[in-house]
Protein backbone atom coordinates (compact mmCIF):
# COMPACT_ATOMS: atom_id res chain seq x y z
CA UNK A 1 0.00 0.00 0.00
CA UNK A 2 2.82 2.37 0.87
CA UNK A 3 4.27 1.74 -2.55
CA UNK A 4 1.35 3.62 -4.07
CA UNK A 5 2.99 6.86 -2.89
CA UNK A 6 5.32 6.40 -5.83
CA UNK A 7 2.55 7.34 -8.28
CA UNK A 8 1.77 10.86 -6.99
CA UNK A 9 5.39 11.53 -6.01
CA UNK A 10 6.81 10.64 -9.41
CA UNK A 11 3.91 12.22 -11.28
CA UNK A 12 4.58 15.44 -9.39
CA UNK A 13 8.29 15.15 -10.17
CA UNK A 14 7.59 14.77 -13.89
CA UNK A 15 5.09 17.62 -13.94
CA UNK A 16 7.60 19.89 -12.22
CA UNK A 17 10.33 18.66 -14.54
CA UNK A 18 8.42 19.48 -17.73
CA UNK A 19 6.71 22.66 -16.55
CA UNK A 20 9.44 24.27 -14.48
CA UNK A 21 12.85 22.59 -14.34
CA UNK A 22 13.15 22.08 -18.10
CA UNK A 23 12.53 25.81 -18.55
CA UNK A 24 15.53 26.75 -16.43
CA UNK A 25 18.48 25.78 -18.61
CA UNK A 26 22.15 26.37 -18.11
CA UNK A 27 23.65 26.42 -21.60
CA UNK A 28 21.61 23.56 -23.10
CA UNK A 29 21.41 21.41 -19.99
CA UNK A 30 18.85 21.36 -17.24
CA UNK A 31 18.43 19.36 -14.05
CA UNK A 32 16.67 16.00 -14.03
CA UNK A 33 14.30 16.05 -11.08
CA UNK A 34 12.77 12.56 -11.55
CA UNK A 35 16.24 11.05 -11.72
CA UNK A 36 17.19 12.79 -8.47
CA UNK A 37 13.97 11.57 -6.83
CA UNK A 38 14.64 7.98 -7.89
CA UNK A 39 18.27 8.18 -6.79
CA UNK A 40 17.43 9.77 -3.43
CA UNK A 41 14.75 7.14 -2.79
CA UNK A 42 17.14 4.33 -3.63
CA UNK A 43 19.67 5.74 -1.17
CA UNK A 44 17.27 5.39 1.75
CA UNK A 45 18.19 2.24 3.67
CA UNK A 46 14.68 1.30 4.70
CA UNK A 47 12.91 1.60 1.33
CA UNK A 48 12.14 -1.83 -0.11
CA UNK A 49 10.43 -0.62 -3.28
CA UNK A 50 13.08 1.50 -4.99
CA UNK A 51 13.04 -0.90 -7.96
CA UNK A 52 9.38 -0.22 -8.44
CA UNK A 53 10.02 3.51 -8.23
CA UNK A 54 12.68 3.16 -10.93
CA UNK A 55 10.41 1.14 -13.19
CA UNK A 56 7.53 3.54 -12.72
CA UNK A 57 9.72 6.60 -13.33
CA UNK A 58 11.12 4.86 -16.40
CA UNK A 59 7.65 4.28 -17.80
CA UNK A 60 6.63 7.85 -17.09
CA UNK A 61 9.80 9.11 -18.78
CA UNK A 62 9.20 6.85 -21.76
CA UNK A 63 5.65 8.15 -22.04
CA UNK A 64 6.48 11.85 -21.79
CA UNK A 65 9.81 12.06 -23.58
CA UNK A 66 10.66 11.76 -27.24
CA UNK A 67 13.61 9.52 -26.46
CA UNK A 68 13.35 5.88 -27.60
CA UNK A 69 11.08 3.90 -25.29
CA UNK A 70 13.56 1.80 -23.31
CA UNK A 71 16.00 4.63 -22.60
CA UNK A 72 14.47 5.92 -19.38
CA UNK A 73 13.49 2.53 -17.86
CA UNK A 74 16.95 1.09 -18.42
CA UNK A 75 18.64 4.24 -17.20
CA UNK A 76 16.66 4.42 -13.95
CA UNK A 77 16.96 0.70 -13.22
CA UNK A 78 20.72 0.86 -13.70
CA UNK A 79 20.90 3.93 -11.48
CA UNK A 80 19.00 2.16 -8.69
CA UNK A 81 21.26 -0.86 -9.08
CA UNK A 82 24.29 1.40 -8.60
CA UNK A 83 22.73 3.26 -5.67
CA UNK A 84 21.78 0.02 -3.86
CA UNK A 85 25.23 -1.37 -4.51
CA UNK A 86 26.78 1.76 -3.03
CA UNK A 87 24.40 1.53 -0.10
CA UNK A 88 25.63 -1.96 0.60
CA UNK A 89 29.25 -0.83 0.64
CA UNK A 90 28.99 1.98 3.17
CA UNK A 91 27.64 1.88 6.70
CA UNK A 92 25.77 5.17 6.52
CA UNK A 93 25.14 7.16 3.40
CA UNK A 94 27.49 10.12 3.49
CA UNK A 95 27.03 13.23 1.41
CA UNK A 96 29.69 12.00 -0.93
CA UNK A 97 27.57 8.99 -1.87
CA UNK A 98 24.70 11.29 -2.81
CA UNK A 99 27.04 13.22 -5.08
CA UNK A 100 28.48 10.04 -6.55
CA UNK A 101 25.02 8.73 -7.40
CA UNK A 102 24.07 12.10 -8.89
CA UNK A 103 27.21 12.06 -11.01
CA UNK A 104 26.52 8.48 -12.09
CA UNK A 105 22.92 9.32 -12.95
CA UNK A 106 23.92 12.33 -15.02
CA UNK A 107 26.53 10.34 -16.92
CA UNK A 108 24.12 7.44 -17.42
CA UNK A 109 21.57 9.82 -18.88
CA UNK A 110 24.13 11.21 -21.31
CA UNK A 111 25.37 7.80 -22.41
CA UNK A 112 21.93 6.23 -22.73
CA UNK A 113 20.42 9.24 -24.49
CA UNK A 114 23.21 9.57 -27.03
CA UNK A 115 23.36 5.84 -27.71
CA UNK A 116 19.60 5.63 -28.08
CA UNK A 117 19.47 8.62 -30.41
CA UNK A 118 22.33 7.28 -32.51
CA UNK A 119 21.15 3.68 -32.79
CA UNK A 120 17.38 4.06 -32.80
CA UNK A 121 16.90 7.50 -34.35
CA UNK A 122 19.91 7.49 -36.64
CA UNK A 123 21.24 10.82 -35.43
CA UNK A 124 24.97 11.43 -35.43
CA UNK A 125 25.64 13.50 -32.37
CA UNK A 126 28.89 14.87 -31.04
CA UNK A 127 29.79 13.41 -27.63
CA UNK A 128 32.10 16.33 -26.98
CA UNK A 129 29.35 18.85 -27.62
CA UNK A 130 26.95 16.86 -25.47
CA UNK A 131 29.44 16.81 -22.63
CA UNK A 132 30.19 20.53 -22.90
CA UNK A 133 26.76 22.04 -23.42
CA UNK A 134 24.49 19.52 -21.71
CA UNK A 135 26.17 17.10 -19.32
CA UNK A 136 28.42 19.45 -17.36
CA UNK A 137 25.77 22.16 -16.85
CA UNK A 138 23.28 19.43 -15.99
CA UNK A 139 25.67 17.96 -13.46
CA UNK A 140 26.06 21.35 -11.81
CA UNK A 141 22.28 21.90 -11.65
CA UNK A 142 21.68 18.35 -10.40
CA UNK A 143 24.26 18.88 -7.67
CA UNK A 144 22.44 22.04 -6.60
CA UNK A 145 19.07 20.30 -6.53
CA UNK A 146 20.07 17.00 -5.00
CA UNK A 147 20.23 18.19 -1.39
CA UNK A 148 16.64 19.43 -1.06
CA UNK A 149 15.42 16.40 -3.01
CA UNK A 150 17.41 14.01 -0.81
CA UNK A 151 16.13 15.74 2.31
CA UNK A 152 12.51 15.51 1.12
CA UNK A 153 12.90 11.84 0.19
CA UNK A 154 14.50 11.07 3.55
CA UNK A 155 11.53 12.64 5.33
CA UNK A 156 9.10 10.76 3.11
CA UNK A 157 10.92 7.48 3.68
CA UNK A 158 10.98 8.09 7.43
CA UNK A 159 7.26 8.81 7.39
CA UNK A 160 6.44 5.66 5.40
CA UNK A 161 9.06 3.24 6.71
CA UNK A 162 10.20 4.58 10.09
CA UNK A 163 13.57 3.36 11.29
CA UNK A 164 14.02 2.40 14.94
CA UNK A 165 16.15 4.93 16.75
CA UNK A 166 18.94 3.65 18.97
CA UNK A 167 19.19 5.51 22.30
Amino acid sequence: MKTLVAFPALALAFVLQMAVVARIPLLAGHANLPMLVVAAWALQEQTPDSWLWAALAGLMGAFTSGLPFLTYPLMYLLLVLFARFLLGQVWQVPLLAVFVVTLAGTLLETVFSLLALQFFSGQSLSWGDALAVITLPQLFLNALLVFPVYSAMRDLAQALYPLEEFV
Binding site: R23, A28, S65, L117, V133
Partner: protein, 275 residues
Protein backbone atom coordinates in the same frame (compact mmCIF):
# COMPACT_ATOMS: atom_id res chain seq x y z
CA UNK B 1 9.47 101.00 54.81
CA UNK B 2 9.07 104.51 53.47
CA UNK B 3 12.85 104.84 53.49
CA UNK B 4 13.35 101.78 51.36
CA UNK B 5 10.52 102.81 48.98
CA UNK B 6 12.21 106.10 48.51
CA UNK B 7 15.53 104.36 47.85
CA UNK B 8 13.96 102.16 45.22
CA UNK B 9 12.26 105.07 43.47
CA UNK B 10 15.48 107.03 43.57
CA UNK B 11 17.37 104.01 42.14
CA UNK B 12 14.85 103.62 39.36
CA UNK B 13 14.96 107.32 38.49
CA UNK B 14 18.75 107.36 38.46
CA UNK B 15 18.85 104.15 36.47
CA UNK B 16 16.31 105.57 34.03
CA UNK B 17 18.27 108.76 33.59
CA UNK B 18 21.48 106.79 33.09
CA UNK B 19 19.75 104.50 30.61
CA UNK B 20 18.45 107.47 28.66
CA UNK B 21 21.83 109.15 28.74
CA UNK B 22 23.79 106.03 27.79
CA UNK B 23 21.13 104.52 25.49
CA UNK B 24 23.47 104.23 22.52
CA UNK B 25 26.03 102.28 24.54
CA UNK B 26 23.67 99.65 26.04
CA UNK B 27 22.95 97.80 22.75
CA UNK B 28 25.48 95.04 23.45
CA UNK B 29 24.08 94.37 26.89
CA UNK B 30 20.53 94.46 25.54
CA UNK B 31 21.21 92.04 22.71
CA UNK B 32 23.04 89.67 25.06
CA UNK B 33 20.12 89.73 27.42
CA UNK B 34 17.66 89.12 24.56
CA UNK B 35 19.71 86.27 23.24
CA UNK B 36 19.77 84.58 26.62
CA UNK B 37 16.03 85.00 26.94
CA UNK B 38 15.35 83.60 23.45
CA UNK B 39 17.59 80.63 24.17
CA UNK B 40 15.76 79.93 27.39
CA UNK B 41 12.41 80.32 25.65
CA UNK B 42 13.43 77.89 22.90
CA UNK B 43 14.63 75.33 25.38
CA UNK B 44 11.44 75.48 27.40
CA UNK B 45 9.30 75.39 24.27
CA UNK B 46 11.11 72.39 22.75
CA UNK B 47 10.84 70.44 25.99
CA UNK B 48 7.19 71.25 26.18
CA UNK B 49 6.60 69.99 22.63
CA UNK B 50 8.45 66.78 23.42
CA UNK B 51 6.36 66.20 26.50
CA UNK B 52 3.20 67.04 24.59
CA UNK B 53 4.07 64.57 21.81
CA UNK B 54 4.93 61.95 24.37
CA UNK B 55 1.47 62.32 25.81
CA UNK B 56 -0.50 62.54 22.55
CA UNK B 57 1.56 60.37 20.08
CA UNK B 58 0.57 56.84 21.16
CA UNK B 59 -3.00 57.35 20.08
CA UNK B 60 -1.89 58.81 16.72
CA UNK B 61 0.60 55.98 16.26
CA UNK B 62 -2.08 53.34 16.58
CA UNK B 63 -4.21 55.22 14.11
CA UNK B 64 -1.31 55.62 11.70
CA UNK B 65 -0.40 51.97 11.94
CA UNK B 66 -3.93 50.92 11.19
CA UNK B 67 -4.06 53.31 8.25
CA UNK B 68 -0.68 52.11 7.03
CA UNK B 69 -1.83 48.48 7.15
CA UNK B 70 -4.92 49.42 5.17
CA UNK B 71 -2.88 51.20 2.54
CA UNK B 72 -0.35 48.37 2.31
CA UNK B 73 -3.14 45.87 1.80
CA UNK B 74 -4.64 48.12 -0.85
CA UNK B 75 -1.24 48.49 -2.52
CA UNK B 76 -0.69 44.73 -2.55
CA UNK B 77 -4.12 44.19 -4.05
CA UNK B 78 -3.49 46.82 -6.74
CA UNK B 79 -0.06 45.42 -7.52
CA UNK B 80 -1.53 41.94 -7.96
CA UNK B 81 -4.19 43.46 -10.19
CA UNK B 82 -1.55 45.27 -12.26
CA UNK B 83 0.41 42.02 -12.72
CA UNK B 84 -2.80 40.26 -13.72
CA UNK B 85 -3.64 43.02 -16.22
CA UNK B 86 -0.10 42.96 -17.61
CA UNK B 87 -0.37 39.20 -18.15
CA UNK B 88 -3.73 39.65 -19.83
CA UNK B 89 -2.35 42.42 -22.05
CA UNK B 90 0.65 40.28 -23.01
CA UNK B 91 -1.61 37.33 -23.77
CA UNK B 92 -3.97 39.54 -25.75
CA UNK B 93 -1.05 40.96 -27.72
CA UNK B 94 0.22 37.46 -28.49
CA UNK B 95 -3.25 36.30 -29.53
CA UNK B 96 -3.77 39.44 -31.62
CA UNK B 97 -0.50 38.79 -33.43
CA UNK B 98 -1.53 35.20 -34.08
CA UNK B 99 -4.94 36.33 -35.34
CA UNK B 100 -3.23 38.82 -37.65
CA UNK B 101 -0.99 36.05 -38.91
CA UNK B 102 -3.91 33.71 -39.58
CA UNK B 103 -5.79 36.51 -41.35
CA UNK B 104 -2.83 37.31 -43.53
CA UNK B 105 -2.41 33.61 -44.35
CA UNK B 106 -6.02 32.56 -44.98
CA UNK B 107 -5.01 29.59 -47.13
CA UNK B 108 -4.52 27.49 -43.97
CA UNK B 109 -6.67 26.58 -40.97
CA UNK B 110 -5.18 27.07 -37.54
CA UNK B 111 -5.71 25.91 -33.99
CA UNK B 112 -4.14 27.95 -31.21
CA UNK B 113 -2.42 26.03 -28.43
CA UNK B 114 -0.55 26.92 -25.26
CA UNK B 115 2.87 25.58 -24.41
CA UNK B 116 2.47 23.62 -21.18
CA UNK B 117 5.84 21.97 -20.91
CA UNK B 118 9.09 20.82 -22.41
CA UNK B 119 10.61 17.42 -22.94
CA UNK B 120 12.17 16.08 -19.70
CA UNK B 121 15.35 15.19 -21.58
CA UNK B 122 17.81 17.99 -22.36
CA UNK B 123 18.97 16.02 -25.40
CA UNK B 124 15.72 16.72 -27.20
CA UNK B 125 14.10 20.00 -28.15
CA UNK B 126 10.41 19.23 -27.86
CA UNK B 127 7.53 21.19 -26.38
CA UNK B 128 4.21 19.95 -25.04
CA UNK B 129 1.00 21.68 -26.17
CA UNK B 130 -2.45 21.59 -24.59
CA UNK B 131 -4.24 20.43 -27.75
CA UNK B 132 -4.56 16.82 -28.82
CA UNK B 133 -6.43 14.40 -31.02
CA UNK B 134 -9.71 15.47 -29.42
CA UNK B 135 -9.08 18.90 -30.97
CA UNK B 136 -8.30 17.47 -34.39
CA UNK B 137 -4.54 17.52 -34.02
CA UNK B 138 -2.67 14.82 -35.94
CA UNK B 139 0.94 13.74 -36.17
CA UNK B 140 2.98 15.69 -38.68
CA UNK B 141 1.02 18.93 -38.54
CA UNK B 142 3.26 22.02 -38.76
CA UNK B 143 3.39 24.45 -35.87
CA UNK B 144 4.03 28.17 -36.35
CA UNK B 145 3.82 31.51 -34.60
CA UNK B 146 3.17 34.89 -36.16
CA UNK B 147 6.94 35.17 -36.61
CA UNK B 148 7.59 31.91 -38.38
CA UNK B 149 8.09 28.16 -38.26
CA UNK B 150 8.30 26.42 -34.88
CA UNK B 151 8.28 22.70 -35.69
CA UNK B 152 5.87 19.86 -36.26
CA UNK B 153 3.67 17.60 -34.17
CA UNK B 154 5.55 14.45 -33.26
CA UNK B 155 3.14 12.59 -30.97
CA UNK B 156 -0.49 13.09 -29.97
CA UNK B 157 -2.71 11.98 -27.11
CA UNK B 158 -6.31 13.01 -26.51
CA UNK B 159 -5.68 16.32 -24.79
CA UNK B 160 -2.05 17.12 -25.55
CA UNK B 161 0.59 16.77 -28.20
CA UNK B 162 4.36 16.85 -28.41
CA UNK B 163 6.05 19.08 -30.97
CA UNK B 164 9.55 18.60 -32.33
CA UNK B 165 11.14 22.04 -32.64
CA UNK B 166 13.25 22.83 -35.68
CA UNK B 167 16.19 23.25 -33.28
CA UNK B 168 16.04 19.58 -32.27
CA UNK B 169 19.10 17.61 -33.39
CA UNK B 170 16.79 15.17 -35.17
CA UNK B 171 15.00 17.89 -37.12
CA UNK B 172 15.67 18.52 -40.82
CA UNK B 173 13.72 21.11 -42.78
CA UNK B 174 14.01 21.76 -46.50
CA UNK B 175 14.47 25.49 -46.90
CA UNK B 176 15.00 27.99 -49.68
CA UNK B 177 17.32 30.98 -49.60
CA UNK B 178 15.32 34.01 -50.60
CA UNK B 179 18.01 35.90 -52.52
CA UNK B 180 19.87 32.99 -54.07
CA UNK B 181 16.71 31.01 -54.72
CA UNK B 182 18.59 27.80 -53.89
CA UNK B 183 17.22 25.00 -51.79
CA UNK B 184 19.12 23.46 -48.94
CA UNK B 185 18.66 21.63 -45.65
CA UNK B 186 18.28 23.22 -42.23
CA UNK B 187 19.22 21.00 -39.29
CA UNK B 188 19.12 21.48 -35.54
CA UNK B 189 21.75 20.58 -32.97
CA UNK B 190 22.17 19.55 -29.34
CA UNK B 191 22.84 23.15 -28.32
CA UNK B 192 19.76 24.39 -30.18
CA UNK B 193 21.73 26.14 -32.93
CA UNK B 194 20.50 25.93 -36.50
CA UNK B 195 22.83 25.19 -39.41
CA UNK B 196 22.51 24.87 -43.15
CA UNK B 197 23.76 21.66 -44.68
CA UNK B 198 24.22 20.59 -48.29
CA UNK B 199 24.75 24.18 -49.34
CA UNK B 200 26.62 24.09 -52.66
CA UNK B 201 29.89 25.99 -52.90
CA UNK B 202 28.69 28.05 -55.85
CA UNK B 203 25.68 29.38 -53.94
CA UNK B 204 25.96 33.03 -53.03
CA UNK B 205 25.01 33.37 -49.39
CA UNK B 206 25.14 36.63 -47.49
CA UNK B 207 24.64 37.44 -43.85
CA UNK B 208 21.03 38.49 -43.34
CA UNK B 209 19.58 36.37 -46.16
CA UNK B 210 16.09 35.16 -45.27
CA UNK B 211 15.15 31.48 -45.32
CA UNK B 212 11.72 30.09 -46.15
CA UNK B 213 10.45 26.53 -46.14
CA UNK B 214 10.68 25.11 -49.63
CA UNK B 215 7.91 22.55 -49.31
CA UNK B 216 10.18 19.80 -50.65
CA UNK B 217 9.69 16.44 -49.00
CA UNK B 218 6.12 17.25 -48.05
CA UNK B 219 6.89 17.74 -44.38
CA UNK B 220 6.07 21.45 -44.22
CA UNK B 221 4.04 23.84 -46.35
CA UNK B 222 6.12 26.13 -48.55
CA UNK B 223 6.98 29.78 -47.86
CA UNK B 224 6.93 29.79 -44.08
CA UNK B 225 9.67 32.06 -42.80
CA UNK B 226 12.30 30.20 -40.79
CA UNK B 227 15.19 32.52 -40.03
CA UNK B 228 18.08 34.44 -41.48
CA UNK B 229 21.71 33.73 -42.14
CA UNK B 230 23.90 34.73 -39.22
CA UNK B 231 27.31 33.84 -40.58
CA UNK B 232 28.79 31.87 -43.44
CA UNK B 233 31.84 29.61 -43.45
CA UNK B 234 33.19 28.80 -46.88
CA UNK B 235 36.38 26.82 -47.38
CA UNK B 236 37.65 25.65 -50.73
CA UNK B 237 38.60 22.27 -49.30
CA UNK B 238 35.02 21.51 -48.25
CA UNK B 239 32.34 20.02 -50.46
CA UNK B 240 29.68 22.32 -49.08
CA UNK B 241 29.48 25.72 -47.43
CA UNK B 242 28.27 25.99 -43.88
CA UNK B 243 26.04 28.68 -42.47
CA UNK B 244 24.57 29.23 -39.05
CA UNK B 245 21.03 30.50 -38.91
CA UNK B 246 19.31 32.85 -36.49
CA UNK B 247 15.73 31.59 -36.11
CA UNK B 248 12.95 34.17 -36.22
CA UNK B 249 11.18 32.49 -33.32
CA UNK B 250 12.54 32.77 -29.79
CA UNK B 251 12.07 29.19 -28.67
CA UNK B 252 12.88 29.92 -25.03
CA UNK B 253 9.86 32.19 -24.59
CA UNK B 254 7.23 30.30 -26.57
CA UNK B 255 3.83 30.53 -24.91
CA UNK B 256 1.14 30.34 -27.57
CA UNK B 257 1.51 28.77 -31.02
CA UNK B 258 -0.67 27.95 -34.01
CA UNK B 259 -1.05 24.43 -35.37
CA UNK B 260 -1.79 24.27 -39.09
CA UNK B 261 -4.58 21.73 -39.08
CA UNK B 262 -5.37 21.41 -42.77
CA UNK B 263 -1.89 20.48 -43.91
CA UNK B 264 -1.46 16.85 -44.81
CA UNK B 265 2.18 15.83 -44.53
CA UNK B 266 3.37 13.48 -47.22
CA UNK B 267 5.19 10.35 -46.16
CA UNK B 268 7.80 9.81 -48.84
CA UNK B 269 9.74 7.14 -46.99
CA UNK B 270 8.26 4.28 -49.10
CA UNK B 271 9.65 6.06 -52.16
CA UNK B 272 13.16 6.27 -50.81
CA UNK B 273 15.52 3.59 -52.05
CA UNK B 274 16.49 1.09 -49.38
CA UNK B 275 20.16 0.10 -49.17
Amino acid sequence: MRESLRTVILFLVVTGILALALGGYLGVISSGLNSALVTAQSWVSSRFVVIQEFITLPRESVELRRRNAELEAELARLQAQVVQYQQQVAQTDALAALVNFSRSNPENSYTAASVIGRDPSPFLHYIILDRGSADGIRRGMPVVTEKGLVGRVDAVIAKACRVQLITDPGSAVNVRLEKAGRETLLVGSLSGDLNLELLAQDTTVEVGDILFTSGLGGGFPADLIVGQVQNVRKRDSDLFQQASIQPVVDFSTLKIVLIITDFQPVNISPLLPTP
